[in-house]
């Protein structure tokens, strides 16, 4: 069995293990015990897994279909906002102004009633489906327009970046109805359970780990079908694939929509764990950071993308705390190193050894 194959089993094993062990370490031992995980650490690990899911989503589009989307931060944030809206509605009358229906920021803006686009978000299934469908729908419209006109390569990147930028500006506006600059925060509970409790945090972590595992297995499954082969073919030779009679645009569109849907799922899992969503998540730089995770881990490999996200996010936590001055130097240097010398990323290193 090659490295990739072995890593596949390791990953499945690690994710299942994490889903069981992290909650156990958080809940079972006494808080002073050296084995105990603080609920801060649980959320931090959960955050990394969300990033890994986001990186996986981008890798599907970029690594397999050659679409470097700089709009994934937007899909992620939209998913997060959808769940954030649900969590806002759950606060109910416990807000500072005590209004039973309107979130605090709407009372503050003197709004009299809930705007229509907030309807239904008091229901969890509705909010969750919106978290997946809104990014997917946006990807569908944007992708359909783009692929129909054969927008590709860097043009696609620049335009998806402009899309993210426009959304960021819109969400920063207080009149837009999503809390403006402050975004949505001060959440109390989810499905009736206290969001701050160690149990809920541990559960959220497990759910995230299982979702990541599920997304990984499903993506792997899709890619191993004939569909996956065509997608890879159009990445390597778009014209040739088209001449072979495949409808390139619909293949691209399908991958792009699935990818956006997974990014939305990552956002939906992320927000309850970090407790806030604001328009800063739409920043164009975030999209590029996601691309770095994929590039560093190894694009065109689902495992690589997940690995890259975890490694860089952990490095960021460490470096921004210890040497805040050095973080950007480190990240910049990493970009250069990977693009110039490691085109296949960290995983490429491992694979290289395998072949040698």
């Amino acid at each position: 069995m090659n490295v990739e194959g072995r890593l596949h089993y390791v990953t499945v094993f690690v994710l299942i293990g994490a889903a069981l062990l992290v909650p156990a370490a958080s809940l079972l031992p006494a808080p002073e015990s050296p084995l105990a995980l603080s609920s801060y650490s649980v959320s931090l690990l959960g955050k990394y897994l969300c990033y890994a899911l986001l990186a996986l989503a981008l890798d599907l589009a970029w690594g397999y279909a050659g679409l470097l989307s700089l709009g994934h931060a937007a899909f992620f944030a939209l998913g997060g906002y959808a769940i954030g809206m649900y969590l806002m509605r759950q606060i109910g009358a416990r807000g500072v102004y005590g209004d039973p229906v309107l979130p605090d920021f709407m009372v503050f803006l003197d709004w009299q009633e809930l705007p229509w686009f907030w309807w239904g978000f008091d229901s969890f299934p509705f909010a969750l489906s919106m978290a997946l469908l809104v990014p997917a729908a946006l990807a569908l419209v944007f992708g359909w327009l783009a692929f129909r006109s054969r927008v590709s390569g860097v043009y696609f990147s620049i335009m998806s970046q402009a899309l993210t930028y426009a959304l960021m500006l819109a969400f920063f506006r207080n009149e837009f109805g999503f809390g403006g600059n402050n975004g949505l925060t001060d959440f109390k509970d989810i499905l009736g359970f206290d969001l701050q409790s160690a149990g809920v945090r541990a559960t959220l972590f497990s759910v995230t780990a299982m979702c990541l595992l599920g997304a990984y297995l499903i993506s792997r499954g899709i890619l191993s079908t004939r569909f996956g082969t065509v997608v890879r073919a159009l990445r390597d030779g778009e014209e040739r694939t088209r001449f072979l009679g495949y409808s390139v645009a619909s293949y691209k569109l399908t991958v792009f929509v699935i990818s956006a849907l997974l990014a939305g799922l990552a956002g939906a899992l992320y927000v309850p764990q970090v407790g806030i969503i604001n328009p800063g998540e739409f920043q164009p730089i975030n999209s590029i950071e996601i691309a770095t995770w994929v590039a560093v881990g190894g694009r065109g490999s689902l495992l690589g993308a997940m690995l890259g996200a975890c490694v860089i996010a952990a490095a960021k936590t460490l470096l921004t705390a210890q040497f805040p001055e050095l973080w950007l130097f480190f990240l910049g240097a990493l970009f250069l190193l990977v693009t110039l010398h490691l085109p296949r990323g960290l995983l490429g290193l491992l694979r290289g050894n395998d072949r040698a």
Partner: protein
């Protein structure tokens, strides 16, 4: 009326230019008045200042100027009022009349003389009376305007006296306007005469005066109608001027976009390099103009002019290093170039933060770029924006000429059209690539110099413009300089025409969405490049 009499003496002194050379007694008197300023209350201060102005002493304007900019302090060691300038934690102290240097002071040794807007206005109008007898037309005009801003009966009388002697038509016009505004608060035929003079004038102070005039309740219907008609006329004129102004704002925004995008148009459009560090090259150009001002303190104008070539060369050199060090290894891999140059942009930002400062730097606007050119009352174009508009057009023309008429331009176009053929014909394509990238980077530096006159000079400067720049290039049609020009100005004007109705942010969002939709339909932009082209 004693006050008015004193005023007349004052004016007489000024107009006749009675400037006695200072005697010991006058010296002591002036010093005493200056020292008394510290303790005096507002009323007493005014009196002291009037007395000082009336003395006609030629050292008074300097004292007034120092007071107006808050440089007069009470030196607690000698209890004298002195001129002090802060330098670091210490103060350099000079005598208020002779300008002789006195021992330096610490923070605790000095107390600043209070100065506020009212006092500054008072000082300005006292100084302005002096300006009326100046030889220079501009000075006389600004003197009239200063007086007109806060007209007292005394000042109006002075103006009326001066009108007979005034030779310049524009200054006469200003005076007549001021007198007519003053006459509006009177009665009888003087009011009707004033209304006739003010008919159809759209100056802000005329409209203000007419609005106040209409609030009087002793007007006859003819007067009321005349004033209303005059206001209506002014307003319709102003609406037109506002449209022209919006157009100028749009062109100005367009010129900023053009400057930012045109360097990209070369590196992205001609070479196909996605340079995400372009914004940081702009930022470095802005720092170059800051650096030049640090090296030439006291000469912001000269420093700014010198920083134009300096920024071009510096950013060009940085660009050259980038191309040789990184980008040439990535030709033909545009997405990797995007990521690598993004890494460079992070490094450059953090380098400026670590080496210079994370805080914004202050770049001084030279006096010849401050202020506005008043074409008509209600339509004033600011000099810095006019200058940047011209600067962007000159830069564009020079670039175009360089591409068309120089050997580098020829080789550059050849390489862009068909690299292999150009190489076969003996063009050293590596050298051409390096020079082209350096050229694009240098132009980014020029944009930075221009931006230093408009906005913050800080490590994040480039971030604000990079997305817009890429969109301008793509919208105009990649590889087409003229397309970039048209795209920049049309986006700028569209933005500014939308802005009054939609607000600044919504205008921008609408424009972005419109742009995305347009490019989805026509990915090649406004002016697609014809002929053979390597796909990116």
């Amino acid at each position: 009326m004693r006050f008015a009499a004193a005023g007349r003496v004052l004016i007489l002194c000024l107009l006749l230019g009675v400037l006695a050379s200072p005697t010991v007694a006058e010296d002591a008197a002036l010093r005493e008045r200056v020292n008394a300023l510290f303790e005096a209350d507002d009323q007493r201060r005014r009196e002291l200042l009037r007395e000082m102005a009336a003395s006609g002493d030629e050292r008074v304007p300097a004292v007034f100027a120092a007071l107006a900019r808050g440089a007069l302090y009470l030196d607690r060691r000698s209890d004298d009022v002195v001129v002090a300038e802060r330098s670091g934690a210490r103060y350099e102290v000079r005598d208020v009349l002779t300008g002789n240097e006195l021992p330096g002071a610490g923070r605790r040794d000095v107390r600043r003389l209070r100065v506020d807007n009212r006092l500054r206005e008072e000082l300005a109008s006292l100084t302005a009376l002096r300006g009326l007898v100046s030889e220079d037309v501009g000075e006389r005009r600004s003197a009239v305007r200063t007086i007109a801003a806060a007209p007292s009966t005394l000042a109006l009388e002075t103006l009326r006296g001066h009108l007979a002697r005034e030779t310049d038509a524009s200054v006469r016009d200003e005076i007549e306007l001021t007198l007519a505004i003053g006459a509006l608060s009177g009665n009888g035929s003087a009011v009707s005469d004033a209304l006739a003079t003010l008919e159809g004038r759209s100056e802000a102070r005329v409209r203000a005066a007419l609005t106040t005039f209409l609030e009087r309740n002793d007007l006859d219907s003819a007067q009321r109608e005349a004033a209303q008609a005059s206001l209506r006329k002014a307003q319709s004129r102003l609406r037109w001027l506002a449209r022209l102004e919006a157009l100028f704002f749009g062109l100005s925004l367009g010129s900023v976009l053009l400057l930012c995008a045109i360097g990209l148009s070369i590196t992205f459009g001609v070479m196909g390099v996605i340079n995400m560090a372009h914004g940081e090259l702009i930022m470095l150009g802005a720092y170059a103009s800051w650096g030049a001002q640090q090296l030439l303190p006291g000469q912001p104008g000269l420093a700014l002019l010198l920083s134009i070539p300096a920024a071009f060369l510096f950013c060009g050199f940085v660009g050259l290093l980038l191309e040789r060090g990184v980008i040439r290894h990535l030709y033909g891999r545009p997405l990797e170039t995007l990521l690598a140059t993004f890494g460079i942009s992070l490094i450059l930002q953090q380098a400026v933060r670590s080496l210079v400062s994370p805080l914004n730097r202050s770049v001084v606007t030279p006096s010849w770029l401050s202020g506005a050119w008043e074409i008509a009352p209600g339509l004033a174009l600011t000099y810095n924006r006019i200058a940047i508009l011209l600067f962007s057009l000159i830069t564009f023309a020079l670039l175009l000429a360089l591409l068309r008429f120089t050997r580098l331009g020829l080789e550059l176009r050849a390489v862009a059209q068909n690299r292999a053929m150009a190489r076969a014909l003996g063009v050293r394509s590596g050298r051409v690539d390096a020079m082209t990238f350096a050229l694009g980077s240098g132009v980014a530096g020029l944009a930075g110099v221009a931006l230093s006159q408009l906005t913050n000079v800080g490590p994040n400067l480039g971030q604000a413009y990079i997305i817009d720049s890429f969109l301008v290039v793509v919208f105009g049609g990649v590889g087409n300089l003229w397309g970039t020009l048209v795209a920049a100005f049309s986006l700028g004007v569209a933005n500014k025409l939308l802005e009054p109705a939609a607000g600044a942010v919504l205008a921008k969002i609408l424009l972005l969405v419109g742009l995305i939709l347009f490019l989805q339909r026509r990915p090649q932009g406004l002016f697609p490049r014809s002929g053979r082209q390597d796909t990116l």
